[in-house]
Amino acid sequence: MSDGSAFISLSAIEKRFGSLTVLKDITFDIGKGEFFSLLGASGCGKTTLLRILSGIEQPSAGTLLIDGQSMAGVPANKRPTNMVFQSYAIFPHLNVEENIGYGLRNVRIAKDEARQRVQEALELVKLNGLGTRNAHQLSGGQRQRVALARALVCRPKVLLLDEPLSALDKKLREEMQLELRALQRTVGITFVFVTHDQEEALTLSDRIAVMANGRVLQLDTPQGLYERPRSREVAEFIGTMNLLPGAVSQSDQSETMLDAGLVGTLGGRPIEVILDKGARAYLAVRPEQISLSATEPSDPARYSVAGEVAEAAYLGDRIHYQVRLTGLEKPMTVFVNNTERAVVRPLGSNVWLSWDRSVGLVLPG
């Protein structure tokens, strides 16, 4: 975990390709030993930012410090960073050992020590005995391990990973996620991880920077992002979120009331700013926080709205419902845990949705 001090420090980083600006005003710090993720849809600039950290790309403006040293004008081969490429970039003309030992030829160490370190790296990524295999004899997962070992053997201060798991199938990917997390704890160095998979980012990271259109939308812990998204974009990107549009009718520090038209007047916690009366806003409620019942719940600590089941999907451990509300364009998504053999409610049946008054969030529109 991070010890709180800034190990990597980005300030006002900007990147332009010709007239196209792909990164704007990127300013944040990454702590030493942190597992830090850059999360966003493709084209949001996350890979470009990673390449700026590695030195493959140079920023058009702004400063980058790694371990207190300015990286301005420092080329990739002189930086204390190593990268795991999305394509793994395994050298096809070298075998596994030669691939892993590639970077050691550039540091002054004895041949014996280099061999020793390659063997340790092979063990670290569980590739013992495959050292003499050729690159084209490796499976996707093994290539990924070689790429990891090749980067780690150079003992970088920062390991940069560019969607390293995206080419693997689901089961292998989940396995590798756990291994990667364990590996990061073992080696204890800072990981900067690029991904478009929000679940992966939540699973792995100490902190996540959610990016869109070349900007950081929100930087927070996984829990913070999920429970306190500060904007509609983040709320929609991380997990599933129900968003009910409305206008602010009353607001104070603890609660903002929204007039959501035919759905009624609903309240939620304000995020950061207290919105003016009449401003457009969204009430955001997670699907798993909503209960579904046949009759109107009488609990005054809960908001309840009436609707009609439009879609139901039985997933075994839970049931996903789409419930249509009068006056609402998009149906609400509700996840019901299958704890006590719940009956799947038929399509078209009238149901009540309710949630605790304290769980809703009010996000600016």
Binding site: I56, N77, M83, A89, P92, Y102, N106
Partner: protein, 267 residues
């Protein structure tokens, strides 16, 4: 197999006979015990091969052509490697037109190039015609071939391999020798062979630009007037045929091996 003896099959056989028949007549007549290349065959002999090796001026021409071909293939490849790298790795301003100009010698008739070079060499540069001027002319026409082969190879591999090398601490120069060049090797070998073969049998430029010494094609042309020289020529042709067949087979084997292990796309 025999059931497929239909029109298409006959066509295929006729096609192959049409292409290779004339070529295969050459080794046949080179072993024929007669001065004239005519049927019926007079008997088996190896004496034309003996005569060929004793023909000093022919051997000199062969040696000249070999020397020029080796120099041309090495130099045109050495010049084409950095040019292809620049054109495939960087977005150069005017990169498209540059490639176009580089490829131009492919479509200019060699007689035009030959005359133009002759004028430049004699009138503007005032250099004596020699085997060196022939080699220079051949390099000019070989570069587009070398570049075509090399650019195809360099475009075919993942740019992140070179980035990975830089990231692992190599300078641009070491990256070239440890990653780019080994991976471009199949292209480099193709380029060397192509340059060698083009230079070895090029006639027009050699005819115009050579001084007192002859290259093989020029020498052979000059000998066609003497019927008694024909069998020696046939013997030489047979040896060249065998040599180039071996070269092409080697090149193909290397290329196949390159496809197997040198292709980073096959994840």
């Amino acid at each position: 197999m025999w059931k497929r003896l239909d029109g298409l099959w006959i066509y295929a056989v006729a096609f192959i006979a049409f292409i290779y028949g004339p070529v295969l007549l050459m080794p046949l007549f080179s072993l024929n015990d007669s001065t004239f290349a005519t049927f019926p065959l007079a008997g088996f002999t190896l004496r034309h091969y003996g005569e060929m090796f004793q023909n000093q001026s022919m051997m000199a021409a062969v040696l000249n052509s070999l020397k020029i071909a080796v120099i041309v293939s090495l130099l045109s490849t050495a010049l084409a490697v950095p040019a292809s790298l620049a054109l495939t790795r960087y977005k150069l301003p005017g990169g498209g037109p540059i490639v176009g100009f580089m490829m131009l010698p492919l479509v200019i008739p060699s007689i035009v190039i030959a005359v133009a070079l002759l004028v430049i060499i004699l009138k503007f540069l005032g250099i004596q015609l020699s085997l060196w001027t022939v080699a220079a002319g051949h390099i000019l026409i070989c570069i587009p071939f070398s570049m075509t082969v090399l650019m195809a190879r360099l475009e075919g591999f993942d740019p992140s391999l070179e980035e990975a090398s830089r990231d692992l601490g190599c300078s641009g120069w070491t990256t070239f020798w440890r990653v780019t060049f080994p991976l471009a090797m199949p292209g480099v070998i193709s380029s060397l062979l192509l340059g060698f073969i083009i230079s070895f049998d090029e006639f027009v430029i050699a005819f115009f630009l050579t001084g007192t010494e002859n290259t093989l094609p020029v020498y052979l042309y000059s000998q066609l007037r003497f019927p008694n020289k024909l069998p020696g020529t046939l013997a030489l042709g047979t040896l060249i045929l065998c040599g180039s067949a071996i070269l092409v087979i080697i090149a193909e084997v290397i290329r196949k091996r390159g496809v197997q292990s040198g292709n980073p796309g096959d994840i």
